[in-house]
């Protein structure tokens, strides 16, 4: 790898994080699996630091908890005519990500907050990021076997903050590297 600047490293790191997050998140949605663990609400370090619950706004309505969002998704899967559950398929067509705070330290371990360990600070340089991710894609409501299913466009905006449980493990690349602090959803 050629030498890349610090900013390039941060840009790439944010791209990787957004990729890991969106890959996981929309697979969960399509598979009808819970996404509650993705939000800051259930994270012990953020709870301990009194971070407010994630701001979740779905189609213009504020939803108090990730669990309620889960319940809305469950409601969305319902096929009224049969009373059974159908598949609601989310397909990501694009995402863009910007770093909006390159040195996020809220709820971080003490040595990061105080920046006492230079090596640690350097090692976590491209991991202490606050990011905004805009995702665009399609939502398909149900399968084709029952006629052309309704389709919508969705736009999701997330503010992601570091999951301190993993920041000190630079090799860790999973979706849980970042947590959702804010989520704005619109499907139309």
């Amino acid at each position: 790898m050629a030498n890349i600047t610090k900013d390039e490293a941060i840009i790439r790191s944010s791209g990787e994080a957004a990729r890991a997050f969106t890959d996981w998140y929309y697979t969960q949605l399509t598979d009808g699996k819970p996404i509650t663990s993705a939000y800051v609400n259930s994270n012990a370090k953020y709870l301990a630091a009194s971070h407010p619950p994630a701001d979740i706004c779905i189609n213009g309505t504020v939803v108090a908890t990730p669990e309620e969002w889960d319940a809305l998704l469950e409601q969305q899967r319902l096929i009224p005519f049969t009373g059974s559950k159908g598949k609601v398929k989310y397909e990501v067509e694009g995402f863009d990500v910007h770093v909006i705070n390159k040195d996020y330290r809220f709820a971080a371990p003490a040595e990061i907050q105080a920046a006492t360990d230079a090596k640690l600070m350097q090692r976590t340089e491209d991991a202490r990021l606050m990011m905004v991710v805009t995702v665009a894609g399609s939502v398909v409501f149900g399968g084709k076997e029952k006629g052309t299913p309704p389709k919508q466009h969705f736009s999701d905006v997330f503010v992601l903050v570091p999951n301190w449980d993993f920041v000190t493990r630079p090799k860790f690349k999973g979706h849980k590297r970042y947590l959702v602090a804010s989520h704005t959803y619109r499907a139309y």
Binding site: A18, H51, D55, F81, E93, D96, A136, G147, Y188
Partner: protein, 674 residues
Amino acid sequence: MAPPTGPRAGTGRAPPRGPRATGGGSGGGIQKRRANPRTDRDGDVSMDTPAGGSGRGGSASGGRGRGSKDARGGRGAVNSRTSSRVVQNLQNYVSGGPVGKTQSKNMATLKIHGMSNSKATGNPDGGLRSLLTFLERKASKDKPITIGKVYSPIYGPPQARDICNYDKRIVDGDYVWITVRKDDAPEILRLNGFTYAGAPLTITETSERMPRPEDKISKAAEETKQKLTSVLARRYNPELKLLDLSSLGTDAILSSMGTFNSKDLAEKAFKVLVVLASQQYKTASEKREGIQAVSLASNGLNDVVQVFDLAKSLPDIKRLDLSSNNLDSLSKIAKWQHRFQHLEELHLTGNPITTQPDFVAELIKWFPSLQNINGQIVRSPEEVAVALKGMHPTPLPQFPSNLRDGEANVASIFVQVFFPMFDTDRARLAAEFYDDDSWFSIQAIANSGRNLPWKTYLKYSRNVHKLGEKNPATVQRLFTGGNLIADMWKALPSTRHPSMENPGAWLIDCHTFPNLADPTGHGFATGLLITVNGQFEESDTTENLYGKRTFTRTFILGPSKPSNPPPVHPYRVISDQLTLHDWTPAELPAVQAPVINQVPQAPVANAMPPAGPVILDDVTKNQLIQEVMKRTGMTAEYSELCLSGTANWNFELALKSFEEQRANLPPTAFINAV
């Protein structure tokens, strides 16, 4: 090439009981080789691997789950022959023999005619196995004859797989093609004129190329297809858009093709007919238009499983006639439950099911459009509309803009200034709201191309999903700093966003969030996240393209840096992400009534524009005044008057009121008053 043979006359209703693979079944010592040459997917006789030889002999029916009788027939004799077969096959390998890919010089190709006229055609494989056994048995008394490649017609009834690429066997008229060693050829040719299962065999050596899998559709299948197409043509009523598949059992052509030799075959004939019928149309909508009704009356059906494929091939029919069959309970129709979304009319007269009291009530639950059963109206069009809507998972309700931007209405003011200025003066916009650390990028979701071409945007598109996060373009297409951003904006087509006066044209969600970096370098600052969904008109004068685009624009606003040059707004744009896509919503931002089981958890939806007096900071007010001055040519004083009046600091309203009042304004209201 193989001369096509006409349909055989007089095939009986009952499957012909031709000789089974008697050699294999007897297990006697006559055969030189196993009774059931296992044909692989290419129609070649496959080699059993040495290790698996004994295991596979028994399941030689080709893994299709039918023909268990054949398998049984084979099994008895397999073990005793395993070792010699293994040896034989090894020899074939070494010599590049029968199973080799290329036709060896040592091999002869023979064409055998007559199987299709034999009594063995009723066997599941059309009599192929017993024919091969017959040849092997009769050919030689001293040494095993090894038949190499085998190609055979799938004889007998028209089968779905003839046309649908199933079981890559070759169909070539009524000929079975085999290869044998040159040495063995005379032994087989000697059998020319022998009677096999009641039919004389014609065996000739040929230099023609053996048919290949890719020839498959040709010849016999093509003939079959043509016959069936003619059946369809006779059975299609263009006035009624009706495909009449009733009384198939009495159809002369189908009978002549042996279609009803067994139930299995009749079902396959039906499948092919339905597939063929749907193939007559290029598009789904042509098909929907072309075939609106199907009759399956008088076919002796006792379960729709037998004709299930109708739901796959013609899912959009409106009328279906199942009268005079033997359907005796709902469970016999259950396979079609929730299929045929557009089925309006169903006829079941003459089926035992009609004596059941509940069948109508149940059936309308299964078919959302069903209005008429046996001529009785069972549901109103209104009820159908409700049922149809409920056939799919339901999108979540849509609520208007949700602006939670704090007491200063920063977001409301920002978007009111931003979008008109983006349309008219991008350079100034960038200079005032963006600083050296602002980020901007565009992503184009260019998938359908329904409206405008994407050329202008694609070179800038920072769709990380498509580009890949390691792509250097993700760095190059990120525009940082107000100057760069302004330059980039210059290159974009001009735009016109709808008026903020029309709240129905915008979906704006906004809230504050904590923990941005404070520009002073100490502690945290509060940020504002604004997400705007809407449409704008675009005019690309260089490409001469005009049209509408749907967009999502995400802004992160944060406190201004003290070092930013004037005019200093209290906030700046930290991040600006513009997403463009082709999707044209059916009803953009339709404001719907809340659904009952949706309980809003927090104050919802200040529709735009905010009601009540707007509280603005002076800098923003000044900004608005400057903008009005620029647009109207009025002095600062009059511009402020114009804004603070009924317009209530709404930029669009102010401009409107200016237009209305223009004639009444004194010359002193204008800067360049003459």
